[in-house]
Each structure stands twice: as C-alpha cells, then as structure tokens.
Point group: C2
Chain length 155, copies 2
DNA sequence: CATGAAATAATGGCACA
DNA sequence: TGTGCCATTATTTCATG
C-alpha cells in the first residue's frame, strides 16, 4: 500500500490542521476541492487516516500528572490480556508490549499525584503484574505529530 | 481556569471527532451551531484546544518502528537545551524531563530498525548525552486520547 | 444565547483525459 | 482510475434582538 505524492501532501496538511477545508488543502496541493475530498475518503477507507481529533492541553482538562509505567509480568501474559485489563482504566491512554526487561509500557495521565498513586496501586494489584517501575513526567518539552516519510513503501 | 459542563462536552465531542460540524455538536449538547462555534473559539483562545489534527496510522506513512529512549546526561543539562537539540530530529515526536535515574525521555518513530539505530547513534553522540537506554515497541495495544475529568479546577 | 441571512464549504453527478 | 466543473445541499459566520 503506497501513498503517492499527492496523498502525502494531503496527509501532511491534515496533520497540521485537521479542520482545514478541502478547498484550502486543494489550493496547497493544486487539486480541486472534490478531488481532495475523494482522496481523503479513500485514505480513511484504507485506514491511513483513522480519524480526526482536537489537540487539547492536558492540564486544562484535569490531567496535570503524566507518567510512564513499565509493567513486569510474573507469568507469560499475552498482549490481549494486558489490553483487556489496562483499557478499563481511563487514565491509561497508551499501552505497548516492549523489548527489554519490562513486558509492557503504559502511558498514564492522572489528575494529580495522589490520583496517580491510587491508579498505580490498582494496576500493581492486577493478578498478572509482578511489579512496576514508574517514570513521572516533570515537564513536557516537545509534543508533535510525525509527518509522512519520503520513500514510503510499507503497510 | 475552569471549563463548565458545556465546554467539557464540546471538548469531548471534538476529541471523538475533530471534524464534527458545529451543528452536530450542538445537537448533542443542546446548543445552536453559532453558540458552539463561539465556545470553540473561546476554548482555542484560552489555549484549552490547541489545534486539530488527523489521526494517522504511523506504519501507513512510513513509521514502522517506535521506541522510547531514556537519556542520561553527563552534566546538569537544562530542559531547554535538550529540547533545542532533540527537536532537530524529525523522528523525535515527544520529549520530557522525568523523575528517576534518567534525565529525559524521548518518544521516537523511525522507518525501520536500521533507521532507528542511525538516529539513536546520532542522539547518543550529542555532547550532553552520557548514555541512553532504549525500549522498542513490539506492538501497540492501545492508543486513545484522554477525555476531560469531572471535577476539573486546575490550570 | 437564538434567529435568520449571506458567504463559504461539502458533496454527488457528469463529461473528459 | 482519477480529475475538473457544475449544481445542490449543508455549514459557517456575522448581523441583530
């Protein structure tokens, strides 16, 4: 599945401004508004663009504490099992299986440190969790979305 | 700075669908389209909503390798200094200062493992970097955006 | 904040390369 | 297949109350 140069430019424009009109995008990429819409529809159908969302300042909506939690599992725990449990915590926004000594990595937002401690305690008490190691975010230096790479050939 | 119940619902709707029309949002929150627009404008002016973006499948735009890199600095390095250098790498999408033994944490996307290794080598060679520890993402289990918390009073 | 009018944008049909 | 042009419908946006 390959994106041609036009698709790439359109995706880039949508990453910069997800609410840009098709006409405005078309002006940048030299395409008519309907043509841009058709391509965006196709990108969505192909699963390249999975949706649109607002960028929101976490602290403004009550999430002032951010952390990464490494999960060490005491037995072979499948990714599906980890997902099944961790998704029940609204504080967990990302979950990965990873290389290294830990088995999984969770990205967690909490209202404050007390809230985070409570969530961490609950997660630690999950039957498949042997122990955890947390890294608390002190300050967010950079937060941006990636742009398409040039030579792009993969799924 | 406080969001009232209406703002909160609007932000929630925009997180779910960043391209939803003001009329459609208004139907959900019992407000007219112009009223929703005024509130969204205000939310943007206040810095609550910082923008809109597309959600894109990383692998579809050439980023198949994802990793977190912990940075250990050999001297007291300011966050500003870390930001100044790391932002020059398009592969670095997030950068934080953190608690624990590492000084900073980078979220990195690369085209493949070879590409990641090259970037890691470059970052390791930055004068303020003593050593690094990388965690490669094997599979992404969960990726979602947080929703506003209920009792929300902070900046 | 709602209403209503005018400007702008989205979207489907149709012809063409 | 993909595009541009056109017409229709929907949305945005700004006036006023």
């Amino acid at each position: 599945m390959t994106l041609d140069a036009l698709d790439e430019q359109i995706v880039r424009a949508l990453l910069v401004d997800g609410r840009a009109s098709y006409g405005a995008i078309g002006a940048k990429v030299n395409l008519s508004a309907p043509a841009v819409k058709r391509r965006v529809d196709r990108l969505r159908a192909r699963g390249v663009v999975t949706g649109f969302t607002a960028r929101v300042e976490p602290s403004a909506i009550g999430w002032s504490t951010e952390a990464y939690v490494e999960l060490f599992c005491n037995r072979r725990t499948s990714g599906a099992e980890i997902l099944e449990r961790t998704r029940t915590y609204p504080e967990v926004v990302e979950a990965f299986t990873v290389t290294g000594d830990a088995d999984a990595l969770l990205h967690v937002f909490a209202g404050d440190m007390q809230h985070f401690e409570r969530v961490l305690t609950q997660i630690s008490a999950e039957p498949f969790v042997a122990r955890t190691r947390s890294v608390i975010v002190l300050s967010s230096l950079l937060r941006r979305s990636q742009t398409p790479r040039e030579g792009d050939t993969d799924a």
